[in-house]
Symmetry: C2
Subunit: 291 residues, 2 copies
């Protein structure tokens, strides 16, 4: 298919490379042009601006920093103006669900399909084309964009416009609370005189087993807190979840508790540490010495 | 080895059967004698009382309901009196860490080794000999009992007396909070208009992946709340964690939040439902209709 790709940063570049490997015709644009050049070497065309990457495309992918960046490219930067009726805009940026719904509405008025399709899996998942891709939008547009989505990972449609973003927030809540659960478990183990590494080994494979116990639990034991997923970004996501939950009228007590922990941790100047470092906040509250 | 086995209930019976299969000489006793009979058919000797199961044994396993039941068998029922110096008492019941330490102390005074070795994995893990066995006690006694422990599952020594029980509590905290995290995620997904089953599918394999998302998440989607792990037992464990945390002087905010949820849920008459049914408590608070 003819694919436009806007935003070839740390995530976007390997995703666009996978589209090329899958045989798609890809035209790329990035604000910092140098970041698009390795893709040209792989066979992509470079466009002079974002609308140039989108002109004539069947599917256009945007992978940008936040909601305002997406709005700027689509509507101020006039990318939306060059999309042909029947084209599908796949925004894979992580932005609030309400913003994604608004963008989909504005594109629908122009006869353009829209999917919100944020991802989970990080740069490693982007390289390996194993990203979890959480998709909101019409089934019809999902089907049309499927060959593009499947070249980058494992897409699942979860509902109408905005629910892809909602699904990513659900993911973030579960990850953050599970990190907190493992951290509290290790704090308790230490305080009670057990060997924390042995405790983690002992409970592996049972109902406590999780990717978090494996990956973030190892980070906690090794005190390896170079991000990874930065704590300030985790907090930003949890703040967005709080706002969305308030909008739809639900209270999530564990979310509020882990959010308060990250708020205190980030306010203390630790925002750039990996989110597994929330262990340090619990240790600080409990006067546990570093081991 | 010569092994005494006291308490051949829903967990103890398959564990004792695995000892027989591994070639150990096993003498069993159970308060309700009928429950020991299938083991006799497998080659076990039946003792007339608990001390009778322990006399002459290298290792004695107890698998009983709670701390008072263990104390009664060991000290009032005089099992401890027949243990030879050098024998090891392996208590695989789930009891408070402080009680386990007290039992170990009283046995040490008689020259008898003691391990606290609670398990995780349920009847299925007991049958398959894949139980996670969390062991507190002296390294020397652990080594001596290892052939017995390894016939029932995967033993890990985590520290001195009482830390096996502590490790199990760490396991329970992580499981309970993770169940709460998945339940909050599904409540948010539903409230925001996403398909909950599709959301769970979409986030599988990423950092949110866990045994809880797999097993308890499926139960939540199918509203299959026949226990499994009963909510009143989950609450009892969380109350014990609260007491232990207070004893060692640590505050665990997520633990307190999930404990409050289970307290309300059990007080409402739902104690016999599976712990994954904490979803219902969150839905009730948020006035979500059952789907």
């Amino acid at each position: 298919m003819n694919v436009g790709f806007v935003g070839t940063g740390i995530m976007g570049a390997p995703m666009a490379a996978n589209l090329l490997r899958a045989g798609h015709d890809v035209t790329v644009w990035n604000r910092t042009h140098e970041k698009a050049e390795p893709l040209v070497a792989l066979g992509a065309r470079a466009a002079p601006d974002a609308p140039g990457a989108a002109a004539g495309a069947d599917v256009v992918v945007t992978m940008l920093a936040n909601g305002p960046a997406v709005a700027e490219v689509l509507f101020e930067g006039r990318l939306a103006d060059v999309l042909a009726p029947g084209a599908v805009l796949v925004d894979m940026s992580s932005i609030p669900p309400a913003t994604a719904r608004e963008h989909a509405q504005r594109l629908a008025e122009r006869g353009v399909g829209a999917l919100d399709a944020p991802v989970s899996g990080g740069p490693a998942g982007a390289e390996a084309a194993t990203l979890a891709i959480m998709v909101g939008g019409e089934e019809e547009h999902f089907e049309r964009a499927l060959p593009v989505l499947e070249a980058m990972g494992r897409p699942t449609r979860v509902g109408p416009a905005g629910t892809g973003q909602l699904c990513k927030l659900v993911n973030q809540v579960i990850v953050a609370v599970t990190i907190g659960a493992v951290a509290e478990g290790l704090v308790l183990a230490e305080a009670g005189g057990a060997d924390r590494a042995a405790v983690r080994d002992a409970i592996r494979g049972g109902f406590a087993e999780s990717r978090v116990l494996d990956y973030h639990g190892r980070r906690m034991l090794e005190r390896d807190f170079v991000a990874g997923g930065q704590s300030w970004m985790q907090l930003k996501d949890l703040d967005t979840v709080h706002d969305v939950a308030a909008d739809v009228g639900v209270e999530l007590p564990l979310l509020e508790q882990i959010r308060a922990l990250f708020r205190a941790f980030v306010d203390d100047g630790n925002g750039s540490l990996d989110h597994s470092a929330i262990l340090l906040e619990l240790e600080r509250r409990n006067d546990q010495a570093s081991t």
